[in-house]
Amino acid sequence: MEGEALGLLGVPLAVIGGALRVSPPYLFVSLGECLTEKSGRVNLGLEGTLIMGAMSAYGVSYLSGSPWLGVLAAGGVGLLLGALHAYLCQQPRVNDIAIGIALMIFGVGLAFFLGKPLIQPTAPRLPAFEFGNWSSSSPLRAALQINVLFAIGIVLAFAMRYMLQRTRWGLLLRVAGESSDSARAMGYDVARIRLYATACGGFLAGVGGSFLSLYYPGSWNEGLSSGQGLMAVALVIFARWDPVRCLWASLLFGSAGALGPALQSVGISGGYHLLSVAPYVLTLAIMMMTSSAHRTLLGQPAELGAAK
């Protein structure tokens, strides 16, 4: 192993490299969830969207030969699933949490059903920027490979913050999330705003799924996702409903997830599973410290039912 040649220095390098590979799905899904929640609704079904996205991206990339078409297909599928979620939730007395879980089961089941023939073939993968080419050390080169899609995600996080804070659409979205009565009084259709937000959120989650199947791990199988879609909900709370903080949070979650394998590569394998739950413990601890029984979380959209 190359990591062993570097000794313990290989660990932080492997963590950074691992974080850069593991974070992008977290980033896209959490940006999608952030957008949805800003409009005042929770979509717990993004895990299903993510896996459907991964499957359709792989399938389209395999059939068309272009990974970017695959990404687009994944986004399109996500868009449809998000719109379905929003449409069902805007009916009276329909619970968005329950519909989310149901759509998650539906999405995962459908992806496994349709994805059966895709386990064998190899699809073209997404390209990456090689930022480490100046170095002769191959672990460093591997660590500094940044996928093009991840770069897009980073730009998107800043763009989304600007959109939410500085534009008319962002303001509308926040009004719908903070006080649907105000939005209605201003003559806007809250259900439609939420429909658009949830559908766009689904698009992003689908794109996050395409990263899983087209870059890292880079194949389609049924154990592809390790719950990133479900984690997104916690991650958005951790990030206090701010897209840029979603970026930092995904990097943190990614590196926490990469710590176990990195230590394993230098021969420290004790506590592997305990390390892998580090992000969850961290989120819970932060929620415990910052929540209060008497007020809602700072930055939380007031219309959010589930995160009351």
Partner: protein, 362 residues
């Protein structure tokens, strides 16, 4: 019955039935799109779920843990909480029951089984009790914390099963030492279904009586209806929330214990098979009514049991049943919106045949 059934009862049967018919139709269309005859799929599913004595027993075996994990969500729902931590309570309850089995091994099977049940339930109760405590004392959202705690529970479970408690003989699939054949939970007389089914049914009946017929249940539902009103009548919201969450966790822990003591005989990764998450859906489909949990769990147990037969006889992927489950859940949950559409009719009339109700609305 001397009293005429109310419109509400009528709706409570008609809407879910219509939803099931619609989902089966949608699923049929999906199957047709894949070039397989829908009727043969329905037939095989019926055969795989309840068509033979063997498959019925298989369905019942799968329904048993679902009844218990459904209570993890259904009980706190009476207080207006959405707890989705059944999976965590199940795996930790299972692990704790194995520890108890090894500690009590010298006392004979009865002591071992009772000890396993009590320990499993206690650990599950503590686990979800924490969710309730965090909610009411620190204001931490219970849905998110119970979700996070599922992942933490699974990590802790794997760490212990693959580390300190690993049976050196289990090479490919790390497991704990088996609890021993003599200590296994037996089958119900005359069938191949274990006693866990009885635990599940009894737990559901107990929860129903507790929530509908006791002072505790009344005060808990009052908390769910209006926290301020409950506080003003002197009810301790904190106590009700923590106690209900602990009961929910105990049910989940018991589910883990029965899976160990009746199916696996040891704790390993096979326990993490999504019974906790399926339980959430059972609870929502049963509209959080502990009594309705029993038939819904049977239905879901049947659907999951039929997966194998579909795979073998029609060479459909095993995920076919997941697609059906997904469609079923989405449609049934969406059908919630149709409750109360016939409200204008007088409340205490004998339900009219379906056709005339439709005419009345139109």
């Amino acid at each position: 019955m001397s009293q005429p059934a109310s419109r509400l009862d009528f709706e409570a049967v008609l809407v879910p039935l219509a939803a099931i018919v619609v989902s089966l139709a949608l699923f049929g269309v999906f199957i047709l799109c894949n070039g397989v005859s829908a009727s043969s799929v329905y037939y095989e599913m019926y055969r795989g779920a309840f068509g033979t004595w063997f498959s019925t027993q298989n369905s019942l075996t799968r329904a048993a843990p679902l009844m218990l994990t459904a209570l993890c969500t259904a009980l706190p729902a009476h207080l207006g909480l959405v707890v989705i931590g059944g999976e965590g309570a199940l795996v930790l309850g299972a692990l704790a029951s194995v520890v108890a089995a090894h500690l009590l091994a010298s006392f004979g099977p009865w002591v071992v089984l009772i000890g396993m049940g009590l320990t499993g339930a206690a650990v599950g109760a503590l686990w979800l009790g924490m969710v309730g405590a965090l909610r009411t004392l620190r204001g931490v959202n219970e849905t998110i914390s119970s979700l996070l705690m599922n992942y933490i529970a699974i990590g802790v479970f794997k760490q212990i099963v693959e580390g300190p408690m690993r049976d050196p003989a289990s090479l490919n699939k790390p497991s704990t030492l088996p609890i021993g054949d003599a200590n296994m939970l037996g089958s119900l007389p005359g069938m191949d279904v274990h006693w866990g089914l009885v635990y599940g049914v009894v737990a559901c009946l107990f929860s129903y009586v507790l929530m509908r017929r006791t002072v505790f249940g009344f005060s808990a539902r009052m908390v769910g209806g209006n926290v301020r009103a409950a506080q003003l009548s002197g009810i301790s919201v904190t106590k009700r929330v923590i106690a209900t969450c602990m009961l929910a966790g105990a049910a989940g822990g018991l589910a883990g214990m029965t899976e160990v003591a009746a199916i696996h005989g040891t704790a390993n990764a096979s326990l993490i098979c999504g019974y906790g998450y399926a339980g959430i859906l059972v609870a929502f489909l049963a509209r959080q009514n502990p009594l309705a949990v029993i038939p819904v769990a049977l239905l879901l147990g049947g659907i999951s049991a039929s997966g194998g037969l579909l795979q073998r006889s029609l060479s459909l992927p095993d995920a076919t049943v997941n697609v059906l489950q997904g469609i079923l859940f989405v449609v049934i949950l969406a059908s919630e919106t149709f409750y109360g559409r016939w409200k204008r009719a007088p409340a205490a009339t004998v339900p009219a045949p379906a056709a005339s109700v439709v005419a009345e609305v139109a």
